[in-house]
Symmetry: C2
Subunit: 609 residues, 2 copies
């Protein structure tokens, strides 16, 4: 052993002991004939004191930052104690040292606020990983994984490994495939998730399964996506939705406690998908703050059970509103005194290409009881008051209104709400709010193909009350213009998403466990019998031999860690992430392979010119 203690271990009670430490040189501070060195390892930093004699040796063997050093010495009480670090009461008076390895000058500083750009840090990821900020992220990740495993173990879940070399059944996302040398012309796929395997384990009677497991999707990478990512994957038998919700909010509360020391004792809120969309404009609302949407003009037939309030803006000959598919407002608290410059800035914000609106209407609800709006010439004060009241605005608030096509306007208002919430400090990093979103539609309509697609995935069960509707009706949509009147349009899924601070951290469903219903689902998705058999014959087969009712959930582990760590980027919580082109710039992968490899795999390139 190169050391008797770590650099984070020594305390006042070790004074006068002879110890050995090993670690990296963090700083070198020379004062005449003595030198102080901060020696760093994973566990902390210890100050080393090199006296006169050793100082000479140091002159002959100069130490640089990041040199690897082994020292022996005597623990000494410091005269100038450092209260900021746990070892700050002592220093080590060095009696002998060995340079275990030298270091070039690192290409960027190994500090929390580094001068290294993204590309440089990715190329030298092994140095980036030395930074305390990154180390803390990986430690948090390990703590989350440990807490998860303990909770699930205590609740009788078994970690069971599922295979990585499986069959390509591209449904939603694209598969990564792996040519099989032993079966020329054939390919494995890497799993997008262990979905069917965990269901088979339920059929096999394993009752409660979990795995913290890598999954793979060959998608064009958006800002915060990775081609390989990690899931906490769980499945339970003999459960209904309520059982799953209880079990997994329990898991997240346990993680809060273990990792953040937060007692999340309040009840986890629940909201239907329709309410989430109606009140927040998206299916993963951040409920750390209110500012709900007022849907003034509701888009035709999107929200079946919601009331239209078009009369609030109609009959004023304001074309922008009259011609819009939808008009949506929010009341931003305490902003009625925004200047022209400020309202212009928000208008520019919604006109950015990422948001894509043409403009913004505002109503200032002044504290003196008057109303001032950008559309004063179309609407009387009385009308403005009616709109502001409906949006829940109080004196001093600023009502913001967007109008346009349904989807874009809704998304834009959702973003604007989040932006205003952020600007007003209503989205606090250290506040955590969980929310279950429930009752998703089972199907979405795919316009190009005039057919249904599964909103979640093809294994999600409809609500028990909707099973008959599904079985007894044909999924065929005869009249595309009336797809909303098709009985399948209103089928709700037995599915649930867990949302944390506006991020979907987990989602799942009660699964179909009856062959007939599963076949109907595949049929609805446009799979004929041959295709069903080719892709999922094993699952349909399994359902014939006593499949139990079951359901489960998967957490996006990378994202969960990022949110708990107060970050927007999952990349900071992955030891060796890929960039937005799916490249590992440190390894320089992917890369070319040898002619011999092509030959053995019996494939060749077919590059488009």
């Amino acid at each position: 052993m190169y050391r008797s203690h770590t650099c984070g271990e020594l305390r006042i009670e070790h004074v006068n002991q002879t110890v050995a430490l090993a670690g990296w040189v963090q700083t070198v501070r020379k004062f005449g004939s003595i030198t102080f060195i901060d020696l760093r390892d994973r566990y902390g930093i210890t100050q080393l004191l090199f006296g006169e004699e050793l100082n000479k040796q140091l002159d002959e063997n100069p130490l640089g930052r990041e040199f690897v050093l082994q020292v022996t010495g005597i623990v000494t009480e410091r005269s100038n104690k450092n209260k900021n670090i746990p070892t700050g009461d002592i220093e080590l008076t060095v009696t002998a040292f060995t340079i275990l390895n030298k270091s070039e000058v690192p290409p960027f500083t190994i500090t929390d606020e580094t001068d290294g750009g993204d590309d440089l840090r990715m190329k030298y990821r092994y140095l980036d990983l030395r930074r305390n900020a990154v180390k803390k992220n990986l430690e948090l990740r390990y703590a989350v994984s440990r807490s998860t495993r303990n909770y699930l173990h205590e609740n009788n879940f078994m970690d069971i490994e599922t295979p990585f070399l499986i069959k390509s059944t591209p449904e939603g996302a694209r598969d990564f495939v792996v040519p099989s040398r032993m079966n020329p012309g054939q390919f494995y796929a890497l799993p997008q998730s262990p979905q069917t395997f965990k269901q088979l384990l339920m059929v096999s009677g394993y009752d409660r399964y979990y795995q913290i497991v890598k999954c793979f999707r060959d998608e064009d990478l958006r800002a915060d996506r990775q081609p390989e990512f990690t899931q906490i994957d769980c499945e339970m038998s003999f459960v209904e939705q309520e059982d799953i919700l209880n079990m997994f909010e329990g898991l997240v509360k346990r993680i809060f406690k273990d990792v953040k020391n937060i007692d999340y004792s309040e009840k986890v809120e629940r909201m239907t998908w329709e309410d989430a969309m109606w009140n927040y404009g998206n299916d993963k609302p951040d409920i750390r703050f209110g500012m709900p949407l007022l849907n003034i003009k509701k888009p035709a037939s999107v929200y079946v059970n919601k009331k239209d309030q078009s009369e609030l803006v109609g009959g004023a000959d304001f074309k922008v509103f009259d011609e819009a598919e939808t008009v949506i407002a929010i009341a931003v608290p305490g902003c009625s005194e925004y200047t022209r410059k400020q309202t212009d800035e928000i208008t520019e914000w919604v006109k950015r290409p990422q948001i894509g609106m043409k403009g913004l209407v505002f109503i200032k609800v002044n504290t003196d009881g008057t109303y001032k709006s950008s559309v004063d010439k179309f609407y009387s004060e009385e009308k403005l008051k009616a709109i502001a009241d409906a949006a829940g605005a109080k004196a001093g608030d600023l009502v913001l209104i967007l109008a346009g096509t349904e989807e874009r306007t809704r998304k834009a208002m959702s973003e604007l709400r989040l932006e205003m919430g952020k600007r007003l400090g209503m989205r606090k990093d250290n506040e955590f709010k969980l929310l279950w979103v429930l009752d998703f539609p089972l199907f979405e309509y795919a316009e190009e193909e005039n057919r249904w697609v599964a909103r979640h995935h093809p294994f999600t069960s409809p609500k028990p009350s909707d099973i008959a509707t599904m079985i007894n009706n044909s999924p065929v949509i005869t009249d595309a213009s009336k797809y909303l009147e098709h009985p399948y349009a209103n089928i709700k899924a037995n599915a649930y998403d867990l949302v944390l601070n506006g991020n979907e951290i987990g989602g799942g469903s009660i699964r179909i466990f009856q062959r007939q219903l599963q076949e109907k689902m595949f049929e609805a998705l446009g799979m004929d019998e041959a295709e069903q058999q080719h892709k999922f014959g094993f699952l349909l087969g399994a359902f014939e031999y006593g499949a139990p009712p079951h359901g489960g959930l998967a957490f996006g582990f990378d994202r969960l860690c990022a949110i708990l760590g107060g970050s927007e980027s999952i990349r900071d919580f992955i030891a060796f992430p890929k960039n937005n082109s799916g490249r590992d710039v440190m390894l320089d992968a992917p890369s070319s392979i040898d002619a011999k490899q092509f030959d053995e795999l019996q494939i060749k390139l077919d590059l488009k010119q």
Copy 2:
């Protein structure tokens, strides 16, 4: 929730409680107007009693084996208690039941001794997994993983995930590769192990890393190999060999305790590679029993420090021995009275193609002090006695002697020793003996290419005392016939294997952490600078920025579980294994992929006719 209790939970103290159970019908036994059903779930079996009224309902809805049932009823004390199962004191008097799902008649019986053949059970793996024997294996596997994680956690190891989509650097085994759609013409590789990543994590200062992780090797599958397998992968910084040995024999002892309740308090034995080969004929000896090899004629120059005893058999004009490269004997205890039939049978056994010897010589050391041998006409009793004595034979033993070429004879004798040990009951399933094998040669000689190959892998460090030899000599072998005289031939590796009952369960090494030495190693393996840079530039780079001394070890997790479970086959300990052609016969994978997938990946098939 479909149940209030599991099928393994109810005891005498639950009598008179109303409970709900759910599970699978194991057996149905009708006795006139009542029916007994054994209901099974993961946790156990509970006997259900259907009284007269429900019996009628059962007649209308007949239950078959593996039907999924939900029942409510009252816990009742049994008159005929079953002491073999924990729930045997009670039964459930059913008041209502629901058939949750039906089952076809399974293609094989779901029992410990099943009538299903291998292929059938693999095709219906989800039914095979229901068998108690398989379930126990997966439970053991989970227990080993849990024990491992707890021990490593307590010893400051951090679970850090390493990537699966990496760079192809085929060294030893063949890589599985993954075409990159976003980087046309380029491929990722699946990791054969996280070797370089864990070393980088040490460079990054993570100090102690572990992972239970899938690895991939595209090899022609031998009987007990899988293309994807699981490793317990560990690495530590600032350690010497002794530290690693202590840490990981501690891990295995902890697993013994947690999983098998065995207190392995004895010291783990250690043996040099040379002694293992000399005394047992292989590098992973089963030391549950003795029966060491007597190398009568040692092959020229293989064992540098060992004594030749050719004089024992020379000068007798027995050509078989005179012409053999090597002659090896063992003394099998208590078998001097084997009949002709028995010695013939052993002779046939060594002549099987798997063993490949031409014959067997035996010497019976009779209890009356006489000697009887198959080569009596060449050797006097005195000579026979000398051989038998040298082999350590006592009165009543049987000496078996093989002669031939070095490698084949050594392997054959190693196999024969194991076979005789097995026949004599010296290899007990419930006895566990650990052994460290140390001081492996760093290099092996590759005859075809007249160069060195790494015996372990290119990152293994030579013994500290051999580093100078390695650095100061050219690896080039100028005279192939004298490769044994090359200074590299005697370099020993700082490597170690952990052997359990004759199986290598883990292996590792102290790593090279100096750029210069690593380059020398790559050079020795025939890699020029450009290739070194292309394949391992990131690692050589990392060694320039303060790499600490480090080392580690990886356990073959599947094999470790199999041995602890008393099985020879790792397949029984993997939930969804592949067959010997690398196929998952349940999924029918690998399989063809769509034209669209080829198109997107810009590859095509190049099948040999």
